[in-house]
């Protein structure tokens, strides 16, 4: 079979980062091609190049589809040729019906007047093809996630799809729905539709894929033909195989002290789908002077765990107990959590971390305003002094403390968020993806701060999707998957393969 798609020498740069470096991807007609790699390996970027989200000219390299060179300028261009992406976050309008969603932007209409009969008949046909037994007039919001996924696929079919790209399609589905979806993909293969499947779940990949391409740090590092049978450990090795250079400051020599915080049987339900447990009966503890890591893939429930602990900022029907220094504490509001000595530096600094239109001076003291005020009156001199102190201590690169935080680079924004929490002087500091989207130099500085704090006797919890980072900076690790802790190990005994296999295998056991 000739390849339906060939991407050759694709290189895509963002300011300061090479997201894709000379990537080649060849997909044969009628196959299921799996694209695997860690978070940030470049899978999504590659698919955005293919679909025209990043238009022709914004990257280097060539795309051949159906044997001819293509220069997609927008999603429209690629969709016209039958290249359809279904993203992880579904693009359905929740309050419209199934039929309306399927033909959104592609309405069955003459002169702008919608032909509802035709719309519903065609929608019913498409639903039958994807095996969804629902009325086409059902409101999408009333369907479960698995069924919504099928509506997305029906929508793709309505556009005469030739190459279907699914980005982590099963990440939010249960076992049963996942299996159905994979069966559907194999059914499509029989009918000659080519698919690219992006997935973390290696058991799924090895079940359905004909060919696997592994991406790592923006490069295609391996291409495996599944006809010969694949070894999951082989895939994992290719996904993570990089060296741990001297990118981390040395660990301290101090031994961890007594238990600073202990969490028992913590369970959190999804705020909108109360039947779903996002965090399921998790128990753990962290000691003074210890850096504890929580590993896991996106969607494992790590951020939800942290935010639900921090003043119940996430979820509903939260149950479980927390002890700090041996005494049970009430963490029901953020204020109480801060007063109990807890701090949480968010993974999403722009949405949850900073008042972006405000200056460094005004952001730093935000979590501890009484400290710079006397009888509710802010002492501007003291405020400036505090901001200057943290700007120097964390080496925040800015023109002055009066610089508005929206104009800072990601690394410096992160340092402002850290400053805010350091000024609140917590005993237990939870850092959620503390180095996401920042450069190597700033990463090292942040690791140094983490080690310093541990040496001072603070308990630090680091949540990260980058395994090397966890291995480099933590003392002990928990592995989280699908809302549960599925492993615990001292970092010196841990390896990327070990962690990955805990995650992958826990999915198989379920």
């Amino acid at each position: 079979m000739p390849p339906i798609l060939e991407m050759r020498g694709i290189t895509k740069e963002f300011p300061g980062v090479k997201a894709l470096d000379d990537v080649t991807l060849s997909v044969a007609e009628g196959e299921i091609h799996a694209l695997v790699g860690e978070n940030g390996a470049g899978k999504s970027t590659l698919m955005k190049v293919l679909s025209g989200v990043y238009p022709h000219g914004s990257y280097d390299g060539e795309i051949f589809f159906d044997g001819a060179p293509r220069a997609f300028r927008s999603i429209r261009d690629s969709e016209d040729l039958g290249v359809i992406i279904i993203h992880q976050e579904l693009a359905l309008i929740p309050l419209l019906s199934v039929a309306e969603n399927i033909f959104l932007g592609n309405e069955r209409a003459t002169n702008g007047i919608i032909d509802w009969k035709e719309t519903h008949n065609r929608a019913a046909e498409l639903l039958a093809r994807v095996g969804l037994e629902e009325n086409a007039e059902t409101i999408v919001d009333d369907l479960g996630l698995g069924k919504q996924q099928l509506v997305e696929i029906a929508k793709a079919l309505s556009k005469n799809v030739r190459l279907l790209i699914l980005d982590e399609p099963t990440s939010s589905l249960n076992e049963n729905d996942s299996a159905k979806l994979l069966d559907l993909l194999m059914d499509f293969r029989e009918k000659g539709i080519t698919s690219i499947l992006i997935s973390h779940k290696l058991n799924e990949v090895s079940k359905v894929a004909d060919t696997i391409t592994v991406l790592r740090d923006g490069s295609a590092v391996a291409r495996m033909d599944c006809a010969d049978g694949v070894d999951e450990d082989d895939i994992v090795r290719n996904m993570v195989g990089r060296n741990l250079e001297d990118r981390y400051p040395p660990r301290g020599t101090h031994a961890p002290g007594e238990v600073a915080m202990a969490v028992k049987n913590w369970t959190v339900h999804h705020p909108l789908h109360p039947e779903r447990k996002v965090v399921n009966n998790v128990s753990f503890s962290v000691r003074k002077g210890e850096v504890l890591g929580i590993a896991g893939l996106m969607g494992a429930g790590r951020t939800e765990l942290a935010m639900s602990l921090f003043g119940r900022s996430y979820g509903r029907d939260i149950s479980g107990e927390v002890e700090i220094n041996g005494t049970p504490v009430d963490l029901s509001t953020v204020r109480k959590a801060i007063d109990a000595g807890l701090a949480y530096a968010t993974e999403d600094r722009k949405t949850y971390g900073l008042v972006l239109d405000d200056t460094i001076r005004r952001n730093v003291p935000l979590a501890n305003l009484p400290e710079i005020a006397k009888n509710w009156v802010v002492d501007h001199g003291r405020e400036a002094e505090v901001a200057t102190r943290y700007r120097n201590r964390l080496a925040i690169k800015s023109s002055s403390i009066e610089q508005v935080t929206v104009n800072l680079s990601g690394g410096n924004q992160q340092k402002v968020v850290l400053s805010k929490w350091l000024f609140a002087d917590p005993d237990i500091l939870i850092l959620d993806e503390p180095t996401r989207g920042i450069d190597v130099g700033a990463k090292f500085e942040i690791y140094t701060v983490i080690r310093d704090l541990a040496a001072q006797g603070k308990a630090i919890i680091v949540i990260s999707s980058e395994l090397p980072e966890l291995l480099g900076v933590t003392d002990r690790l928990y592995v989280m998957n699908e809302g549960q802790f599925v492993g615990e190990m001292p970092t010196i005994e841990a390896s990327q393969e070990k962690i990955m296999s805990r995650i992958v295998k826990s999915g198989e056991d379920a």
Binding site: G353, V355, D358, L366, H380, T388, R391, S400, I401
Partner: protein, 402 residues
């Protein structure tokens, strides 16, 4: 910005070396509003042949706009917090009616009635703020409902009639003047002295603030600008107090207004309460995750707005000497316009009390000047609308460039 070299030195460098023009570019908004007021006043002063700044007209201008200014101060807090209150005009009318019923029909002593009215205003604000803060009902909807409800209740309370007149003591709230304790003959000396004292105080405060800024390495305005601005404000205050002294002195309501401006300026710029309101408006999620009780503060800003609307209602009723069902109609639009002209942002987190007050006076001077010139109410509305649009366009463009 010329100086963007990263600095990690212990004491951040002060940057007075920057040229004045560049500084002006960076701070166009703050100067723009003041310059706009001066230009508009100068224009009408010339166009009306000097009537605008005649002592009697200046005093009138202040009295006419007092209730807008009072409400603009409260609205500034609501808008900074990221919300809007459309009900203030109706609440003003309703409280006026309530005061009339209590004082004129029931014969209650007016100070007692006034206290009840203020409390009632606060309760109205709380009732609306409750839904906005604790149930996340959009403030636009809640206060739109409030606008209809209180307009209706005003009609019901007054049974469709005007109720008045008020006793003379009550009317003094808005038509009285502070007695001249210095006993000046042709000039009201108290007014003049107070004006000079306030001007001197403001000058001293701004010099002190500037010295502090120089000490901490903030973005300091060039000396020429500082001197020019300070001289302008000082001169304007002394001149205005002389003009008012030449008529009948300080109106009572002016004193109330000045106190409110001072208190709320301090509250917004210097207290932890103010800082938290700005943080909520700037990024509610980040503020909540920093331990700020955004629900309670949102609730309080609405309660405060209700109380200030009630105060404005008393002032307006006293000024008209009667409560009418039409009182307060469309006032909310003037108040909101004043706050936005004054530089507040629709999305919250930005704006100053002084800006809102200046915005209110820009509207007031235009109303007054155009009336003197005999421009009809029709074209007045058109021009005011265009000024509001221009001010906000200017804001948005300015922000994009920066």
């Amino acid at each position: 910005m010329t100086d963007t070299t990263p600095s990690t030195s212990g004491r951040a460098e002060t940057r007075t070396s920057k040229s004045g023009l560049q500084f002006l570019k960076g701070h166009l908004r703050e100067y723009g509003i003041l310059i706009a007021l001066v230009v508009i006043m100068a224009f009408f002063q010339v166009a009306t042949g000097g009537i605008l700044l005649k002592p009697v007209n200046l005093t009138n201008l202040i009295l006419q706009n007092s209730y807008i200014v009072i409400m603009a101060v409260g609205m500034l807090l609501v808008i900074v917090c990221g919300h809007i209150d459309l009900s203030v005009g109706s609440v003003l009318g309703f409280i006026g009616a309530l005061a009339a019923v209590m004082i004129v029909q029931w014969g209650l002593p007016w100070p007692l009635a006034a206290v009840i009215c203020l409390a009632f205003g606060a309760i109205i604000g709380m009732a609306q703020g409750f839904w906005v803060a604790y149930f996340q009902i959009p403030s636009f909807i809640v206060t739109l409902a409030g606008m209809l409800v209180f307009k209706g209740l005003t009609l019901w309370l007054l049974a469709g009639q005007s109720v008045g007149p008020f006793p003379p003591d009550f009317r003094l709230i808005s038509s009285g003047f502070v007695p001249d304790v210095f006993g000046g003959e042709n000039l009201n000396l108290l007014t003049l002295y107070t004006g000079i004292a306030v001007a001197a105080l403001l000058l001293w405060l701004s010099i002190r603030a500037r010295q502090r800024q120089l000490g901490t390495g903030a973005d300091v305005e060039p000396f020429a600008f500082f001197a020019g601005r300070s001289a302008l404000i000082f001169g304007a205050l002394v001149y205005m107090s002389w003009l008012m002294a030449d008529f009948r002195g300080l109106p009572n309501v002016f004193v109330v207004m000045a106190l409110l401006i001072a208190v709320y300026s301090f509250l917004t710029s210097r207290t932890t309460f103010g800082r938290r309101i700005y943080a909520i408006g700037g990024n509610e999620k980040a503020a909540s995750l920093s331990g700020i009780n955004s629900k309670r503060l949102t609730f309080l800003t609405f309660a405060n707005m209700g109380m200030l609307a009630a105060l404005a209602g008393l002032v307006f009723a006293a000024r008209l000497n009667t409560a009418t069902p039409k009182a307060g109609v469309a006032f909310e639009l003037d108040v909101i316009a004043a706050v936005f002209i004054g530089g507040a942002s629709m999305s919250g987190g930005v704006g100053t009390v002084v800006g809102a007050v200046v915005g209110a006076f820009i509207m007031g001077v235009m109303n007054n000047g155009m009336s003197i010139l005999g421009i009809g109410i029709d074209w007045q509305q058109v021009i005011k609308g265009l000024v509001l649009l221009a001010a906000v366009i200017f804001d948005v463009m300015n922000k994009k460039k920066g």
